[in-house]
Symmetry: C2
Subunit: 249 residues, 2 copies
Amino acid sequence: MWHSSISQAIPPLTQAPANRCGDCLVRHRCLPPSLPTDELHQFAALLTHRRPLQRGDHLYRAGDPPHSLFAIRSGALKTYLIDDDGHEQITGFHLPGELIGLDAIGLDRHPSFAAALETTSLCQLSLVQLETLHEPLPNLRSELLRIISRSLHAEHRLLHLNHRSAEDRLAGFLLDLSERFARRGLSRHCFVLPMSRCDIANYLGLTSETVSRLLARYRQRGWLHIEGREVRLNTDFDLPVLTEHCPLP
Amino acid sequence: MWHSSISQAIPPLTQAPANRCGDCLVRHRCLPPSLPTDELHQFAALLTHRRPLQRGDHLYRAGDPPHSLFAIRSGALKTYLIDDDGHEQITGFHLPGELIGLDAIGLDRHPSFAAALETTSLCQLSLVQLETLHEPLPNLRSELLRIISRSLHAEHRLLHLNHRSAEDRLAGFLLDLSERFARRGLSRHCFVLPMSRCDIANYLGLTSETVSRLLARYRQRGWLHIEGREVRLNTDFDLPVLTEHCPLP
DNA sequence: CGAGCGATTGATTTCTTTCAATATCGGTGG
DNA sequence: CCACCGATATTGAAAGAAATCAATCGCTCG
C-alpha cells in the first residue's frame, strides 16, 4: 500500500507560462479540442500545474473536498474505491489526455482515490473557475458534458466485458489499452503496461494467478509476446478477439 | 425479444398542463429539486409528455439520433447494449424519478437501447431546449452535471459488486433496489420486481438458473420470501449483507 | 387445448480460485 | 561486487463456484 506522500504535501502550484495547451502532446484527446482558438487561450490561461506525482503518490483521497479537475499530461494513474471491509477496488486506469475527478463534481467529498502508477504530470483546473468559465466559454460546458457522458458509456461497455470469461476480459482489457495508446499516437502493438499484474487482476475481478496463466496461454498461442510489463501484440491478437467485443465509441 | 412498437409510432407529444413538477410524486428525486420556485416553473413549462409506453415498447434504440432527456414518472425501464455478436447486455434498470438518456449527450446517435419493463409514463425535455435553458437557469446546469457525475460514481460501485461472488452480487442487487424504492417513499421490505429473472441474471452477469438457486438459498435461510416477482425482505437480510458493500451515495 | 415462455431444480462439466512452492527483478547494505 | 531481501510474477495441484445440459412445472395467450 502506498502512502509515501499525500497531496497536501505538494502545494507549490505554479502558473507555467510555457506549458500552454497549444504545445501539449495530448491536446487532441483532452478537454480543449473543440474550443475555438480565442476560447482556448482564455481557457489555458487558467490552468495550473503542480510538481509531478511520483509512483504511489495520491492525487486525492476519498473524503477530500474536491477542488479541481485534472488532465493528465504524461504518466498514468489508477482510481479506486475502498469498501467497508477495507478491500481496494480499482475503478479505472487513466492515460495522458484523460480527465480525472469527474466523479466528484457536485459532491462535497471525493468518492474515490487517485494514485500515480508512475511519474505523472498534470494540468489542474479549479472547479470554481470552471463555474465562472461556463458563461464566457459556452463550448466548454458542452465539451465537458460530452466527455462525462462518454465516460458513462465507457463504464457501461466495461460492465459488459465483466460478464465474459476471464480470457475474454483480459483480452478486452489489453485491446482497450492498445486502442487508447494508439489514439494518443503511440504504437498499437508495442507498449509498456503502467500497472502490475495485481492491479490488472483487481480491476478485472480476477486473481493475479489467473492473469499470469492467461498471459501464458496467449503467449503459447502466439498471440503476443510479454516480458514483465513490456507487451507486443501480434496481429493475430487484434482480429479474432476484437470482433467479440463492442467497438470503442 | 420485444418489437411490438417503436418510438416513432408514438409521436403525439402533448403539453400536459395539469402535470407540472409541483404535483409529481417523484419530484424530490428528479432533476428539479434544487431549483428555486421561479426557475422550476420556467423549467416545467418546457416539459412535454407522451402517451405511456407499454411493456416492451422502446423509448429509443441504439443509432437513433438523440433528441431528448427523459425523466420517469412511473413504471420502469431497462437500458441495454447489443454487441457485435448480437448478445444483449443490460446496463441498468431505471425507476421513477430517474433520468434516462444521459449517455447520449453530445453524441449524434444513441449508444444504447431503452425499453419499458411495464407501463411507463415519462417527462421529456428536448436537448435543444436544454441548451437554451442553461443561460436563464444556471442551477439547472449544475444539477445536471451533479446527476450525471453521480451516475458515473454509481457505475463504479456497480463495477465493484461485479467482482464479488454471485451470492453477494444478487444480494447487493436486491438491497440496491430496496434502497431505491425506499428513497421514493415505497416500502423497503415489500416490493414487486419489475424485471424477469433472466433480466436480473443478464444484468449481474449470471445465468437465470443461478439466480433461481440463490433466491432459493436465501429463502431457506429465512432471509426473504419471494413468489414470482413479489419480494418481502426480512430484517435479517438487510444487516448482514449490506455491511459487506459500499454504502449508497 | 396446446404452444411457448419463464421459473425451478438436478446432475455434470468447466472454469476460476485457493493454497503452495518457486522464480525473478530491483534495490540495499555489508 | 555480491549476497540478501521484499515485492512481483509464474507455475502446479486441489478445491470450489457457477455454467451448462436437461427435465419438469406453471402460467398466459392465442
